[in-house]
């Protein structure tokens, strides 16, 4: 039930963002509704974390970092998906709106990815005694972060040249295609993992499942809203550049 809701919210959010990108400036009004919904979901989620989710036996109250760490995973991946979709769209149609989608997806995605890399160690230190552990999830998140950063570097360094958008579109596609292989490789390289085994597989108590589910839906909402605002900014920037070019300043 929870996972169905989460999947639904992911599809809705992704669909809305892509729809929005087709005509950002006209459609951005819908962002306030999404923003309000995200805010409400965040409030619900926080309430659940504080009042509803049980205190875990082994780790104690620190375990509740789980509810802010796991929900960040979906936005991290969504960022890549949007970057790849935008990349393909731009290569095929050459319309800037696709590139704006890709850029916004990458930027917001890297924010959530960086957040995971910071919150993960904050959780690891009290639980395992080390700030950093080379386990499957943390390591793959790090590599994903490198891919994001490489994409953003390429964007920054190529900026201004005609090729910039083409190249970043290509890299976005390559980067996203590499993700499953990266996961396989890190898993292979690690042998055994120190990360808490995926609770979903061993059956999460209902309260925990619902709380983390609420967090996931809330974060997806936040992600979508942030991408929308970022795309609006990109559209405004593009228009202002165009106007400046026409005026010859």
């Amino acid at each position: 039930m929870v996972s169905a809701l989460v999947t639904l919210s992911v599809l809705l959010a992704a669909g809305w963002v892509v729809w929005l990108s087709r005509d950002v400036e006209a459609r951005v009004g819908s962002a306030s509704t999404v923003g309000a919904a995200a805010l409400a979901l965040l409030a619900l989620w926080l309430g659940l974390v504080i009042g509803y989710a049980p205190i875990e036996q082994v780790q104690g109250i620190v375990q509740k970092i789980f509810y802010v760490h796991i929900p960040a995973i979906i936005p991290m991946y969504l960022g890549f998906v949007l970057t790849a979709v935008g990349g393909v769209g731009f290569l095929r149609t050459r319309r800037e709106s696709w590139d704006q989608l890709a850029a916004s997806g990458a930027e917001v995605g890297v924010v959530f990815c960086s957040l995971m890399l910071v919150v993960g160690p904050i959780w690891a230190k009290p639980v395992w005694g080390h700030w950093w552990v080379w386990d499957l999830r943390l390591t793959s998140t790090l590599v994903l972060w490198f891919i994001y950063v490489a994409y953003l570097f390429l964007r920054g360094l190529a900026f201004g040249s005609d090729a910039a958008k083409t190249f970043t579109s290509v890299y976005g596609i390559l980067g996203t295609a590499a993700i499953p292989f990266v996961y396989f490789a890190v898993d292979l390289a690690q042998g055994s993992t120190m990360h808490p085994s995926n609770p979903a597989r061993e059956g999460l108590p209902a309260e925990m499942g619902r709380t983390v589910g609420a967090g996931m839906i809330a974060f997806v909402g936040v992600f979508a809203w942030l991408v929308a605002r970022r795309m609006e900014l990109a559209a405004l920037e593009a228009r202002s550049l165009e106007a400046r070019a026409q005026r010859g300043t």
Binding site: A72, W123, L233
Partner: protein
Amino acid sequence: MAYLLAAYAITAVVLVGYALRIRAARAALLRSTQQRS
């Protein structure tokens, strides 16, 4: 407990901060285009 609060606080600060950055950039952009016209 400190770790727990730190994790949530950092998340809030980062996300809110990023949202504010977008808003500030947008406002600056709108101001500069208004000045020109």
